[in-house]
């Protein structure tokens, strides 16, 4: 067998898929020809290396992003079906008119229908009302709970990845100060190093912060489409930004910031609640709920309602800074107890959990529970 022929049989020879006679001929040639023998060794090394290449892991948010796209497509499909039903209904109605008039009415009705359809409420209507059309807002379902398969509480890595992928930028309220009729919050933004993918080597992100309007208060001085801050947050270089509110306009409810950034090609958003004097518990300590039913007052419930409302209204994950101090609160499993749990751990300036997907994600120190 000649050298230029033997290489053609390397694959079959390695796989043991040639007949005995041919295998003998190949073996014989390799034992006589050093060059081909060397070539075969390298071919075999390559074959082994191909099978041993390390697996590249998808980004932590990959699955979430894919399913979000699917959700969006499903909603669009449903909306198109509704619109089609409207047009079909209209045409049917027109068909009952006298033939001579039907044509003219049909044209007019289709035009009117298209104008009406343009204003049919759809799920991001709240975003439109707030005047944030330009701001990319990731919309979750607001008609029904946004839910994935409940997290397996033993698979901590999974929920940590999900949490971290949304917590690339950590936001905390460092301080607040009231001077005459002005309240100033110092809000810190920093990159969460653990959230950045280890294979991305990215060390800063561009972010923008908008002050969100709320039905709970009026902010005459807020120019909605201008961010209160816009710039880069670098790893190890947190940004301290002031948010200034006229105190007399903060009647009640929360002041909310919408933080937006882009990670690779994805738009990310989250909302942070700035603590309000009106909804913060009177004591800065944790409410004592050792006796069931105690400690639930109007202020606590309104804070919980505010958290949930903001999260659902804007369809974004909700970050409020405070730290968990009692792991027992995480074992509650229904909305009423979730209410208690969230109120129990309220210390607005240092909370460290995220409420989204009807689940409560805690800091890595604590175990997560699906509280649905």
């Amino acid at each position: 067998m000649k050298c230029d022929r033997v290489v053609e049989f390397f694959s079959d020879y390695l796989e043991g898929k040639i007949d005995y006679a041919l295998a003998s001929a190949v073996r014989s040639h390799l034992s006589d020809c050093k060059a081909c023998s060397r070539e075969f060794e390298m071919f075999r090394d390559m074959w082994i290396s191909l099978g041993a290449m390390p697996e590249k892991e998808p980004p932590a948010s990959f699955r979430h992003d894919v399913v979000m796209r699917a959700i969006g497509m499903q909603q669009e499909r449903q909306q198109r079906r509704k619109n089609s039903a409207f047009i079909i209904g209209l045409n049917f109605l027109l068909g009952r008119l006298a033939p001579g008039k039907a044509a003219g009415f049909a044209v007019a009705a289709i035009i009117i229908g298209m104008i009406v359809l343009r204003f049919i409420p759809h799920q991001d209507n709240n975003a439109s009302k707030s005047g944030f059309d330009e701001v990319p807002i990731t919309q979750l379902k607001t008609e029904q709970p946004y839910s994935f398969s409940p997290l397996d509480v033993d698979r901590k890595d999974e929920w940590v990845d999900r949490k971290l992928s949304r917590n690339m930028i950590w936001i905390s309220v460092e301080s607040s100060e009231t001077v005459e009729n002005t309240k100033t919050f110092k809000v810190k933004l920093s990159l969460n190093q653990n959230a950045l993918l280890t294979n991305e080597y990215i060390n800063k992100l561009h972010a923008s912060v908008h002050l969100l309007p709320s039905s709970d208060y009026t902010l005459d001085e807020v120019i909605k489409d201008v961010p209160v801050w816009d710039g880069y947050v670098g790893l190890g270089s947190p940004v301290l930004m002031p948010v200034i509110i006229k105190k007399n306009s903060l009647e009640s409810g929360c002041v909310n910031l919408l933080v937006s950034w882009r990670f690779r090609r994805r738009d990310c958003n989250m909302v942070i609640i700035l603590p309000s004097d009106c909804i913060r518990p009177k004591s800065s300590d944790i409410l004592d709920l050792s006796h069931p039913g105690s400690g639930i007052n109007g202020e606590s419930i309104s804070l919980y309602t505010a958290f949930q409302g903001v999260s659902h209204k804007y369809g974004v994950p909700l970050i409020v800074n405070s730290s968990l101090t009692d792991e027992r609160v995480l074992t509650y499993s229904d909305d009423v107890n979730l209410n208690i749990a969230m109120n129990r751990i309220i210390r607005p300036l240092d909370l460290d959990w995220m409420y989204t997907d009807n689940s409560l994600y805690a800091d890595t120190k604590y175990r997560a529970r699906n509280l649905q």
């Binding site: 290489v7 053609e8 390397f10 694959s11 079959d12 060397r38 070539e39 060794e41 390298m42 071919f43 090394d45 390559m46 074959w47 290396s49 191909l50 099978g51 290449m53 390390p54 697996e55 590249k56 892991e57 998808p58 980004p59 990959f62 699955r63 992003d65 894919v66 399913v67 796209r69 699917a70 959700i71 497509m73 499903q74 839910s147 994935f148 398969s149 280890t198 294979n199 991305e200 080597y201 990215i202 060390n203 800063k204 561009h206 880069y232 690779r264 090609r265």
Partner: protein
């Protein structure tokens, strides 16, 4: 088809998003890894893998179940890649000194300090990088076949199904691809067995 797959797929066909989530979870690593090896970079791999899953979501009702789901899935991933390849970035593997382009400026891609990794681990990583580069330099169809067989563990029959080619054609082209790959790797004899 595996019975677990069948149950999830049946639910997906009814529009069950939790089932779709479970399906993505089951196959995301395989698909992403394959897409990365085909495209040579993370961004494009993400696009290809994501689009492939969306196509699965859109077309799941057409999956009849007479073949392996993974065969059908990889056919979709392959087609998504082939459709996109003209728009994908021209370079292959990311050079180690590439700069990340941000909106206003660029920052150097930071290389994780490998020390005090032992020398053989560094050498192993380099072998994989050069191998990936050589794979990337193969023509699309050769690259597809090499990765489907060696990286994804697909059989000749499955590859024939995925690429819709006769099995004899797959075998001969895959053999050509291996030989071509070996030729490319000869440029770095030290790492590959000289």
């Amino acid at each position: 088809m595996r019975s677990e797959d069948k149950s999830i797929i049946d639910r997906c066909k009814k529009g069950d998003l939790e089932a779709f989530d479970a399906l993505v979870k089951r196959y995301e690593k395989q698909v992403y890894n394959f897409a990365y090896r085909m495209t040579g970079n993370y961004d494009d791999a993400n696009d290809v893998a994501s689009d492939a899953f969306i196509k699965v979501f859109q077309g799941i009702k057409t999956f009849r179940g007479d073949a392996n789901f993974s065969t059908w899935l990889f056919r979709i991933v392959t087609n998504v890649f082939l459709d996109k390849r003209k728009r994908l970035r021209p370079q292959g593997n990311v050079p180690l000194d590439e700069y990340i382009q941000l909106e206003e400026n660029s920052v150097a891609r930071q290389i994780e300090d490998p020390s005090p990794a032992p020398e053989n681990i560094i050498e192993e990583n380099e072998r994989h990088e050069y191998l990936q580069q050589a794979i990337y330099e193969l023509p699309d169809y050769q690259r597809l076949m090499v990765l489907l067989f060696h990286n994804q563990g697909q059989s000749y029959e499955e590859i024939a199904d995925i690429l819709e080619l006769p099995i004899g054609t797959v075998k001969s082209r895959l053999n050509r691809a291996r030989i071509a790959l070996r030729e490319k790797l000869k440029q770095n004899m030290e790492l590959f067995g000289q």
